[in-house]
Amino acid sequence: MYDPPVRIAVLMPAYNEAGRLLDTLTELCRDRGDAEICVFLVDDGSTPPLARDELRAAAGAMPIVLARHAVNLGQGAAIETARQLALRPRFSLHNAPFDAFVTMDSDGQHRPCDVLALARAIADGADVALGNRFAGGSNVPLSRRLLLAFARSFERVTTGLALSDAHNGLRAFSARAITRMHLTHNRMAHATEFTQQISRASRNGERLGVIEVPVSVRYTDASRAKGQKASGAVAIVVDLFHGFLFGKGSP
């Protein structure tokens, strides 16, 4: 039986990633197999701006749609911009809809094979596939483990979803699910917002099939330096509280 290639929209925010982003694109292009991938890359106000020629050279034949925020807004805002772009007919691949929408970091933490695994899970019928780095052999630093354990408990209390890895940047959505995700938190609280919206959709009777897929996250010195810290966790809680207080999410 003919199994058509999975059509994947990769939603990728980038802020001052430079070389790591180009390596990520090169690797994704090289290891994409028979999947049809289009990267929706949002330059979140990088200085200097991402260079088109370098992107073109890195991505080869893999299509990239580039959008640029005039000022730095935050990762959540960049993902939301990428999401909106990916739903626009003018950026479809060969005028056909995407099977899966995958959020992926641009700093080389995420592996192309995990992107394909998540997209395959969506193609097989799931609405939401969340990467689980604890089941995928990642060398998660102890400090990050403790922080993520707190995040997991927080999400369980606030959303009712019992997830193994609540704040993994690798997530995949079906076309049905991605239209129900609308991020209003500009910064890192968007990860919690995703789970809140998945939970809310289920409460509204639009039950979304959620599965967790083992993935491996590659931690480097650069990613550790850039990643979430305890102060970042406090900022997320403050952002969520502001969103609760003022009603529209925290920009």
Binding site: I64, L66, H69, A77, R90, K248
Partner: protein, 130 residues
């Protein structure tokens, strides 16, 4: 009621005068400046003549004159803080919308072969961006 010119009162009055001098030269909104002058003057009077605050405090059932000034001040500051945060929140949400609209409007393919590069009508794009 006698004036109480203590070192603390002199320091506070000096601070008020310095702030007012700074704001007179920088604030262009005359109404705001007038309001500030009135509030600062009232504050200066209460500093050099605390008996006024004491009498007012006793009249409304508050023990100390300083508490009479502090209680409403704290309430006002908390309210101002919340209002300011809400305004900043709304302004940033508006800025996000503008920046995003500009980014989407100028988005384009930078690589890829065999990609449909034709732009669909804008109204169909708008309907897809929920």
């Amino acid at each position: 009621m006698s004036l109480e010119i203590t070192p603390a009162a002199i320091a506070l009055i000096g601070l008020l005068a310095a702030l007012l001098l700074h704001d007179v030269t920088t604030i262009k909104n005359r109404r705001l400046l007038a309001l500030q002058i009135i509030v600062f003057t009232a504050g200066a009077v209460l500093i050099v003549c605390p008996e006024i605050a004491r009498r007012l405090a006793r009249a409304v059932g508050i023990g100390r004159g300083v508490d009479f000034v502090l209680y409403p001040l704290v309430i006002w500051l908390v309210r101002e803080s919340l209002l300011t945060r809400r305004r900043r929140h709304e302004d940033e949400a508006k800025m996000t919308e503008i920046v995003r609209a500009m980014a989407i409007d100028k988005a384009h393919f930078v690589s890829g072969n065999g990609v449909s590069r034709s732009s669909a009508p804008l109204q169909s794009d708008a309907s897809a961006s929920s």
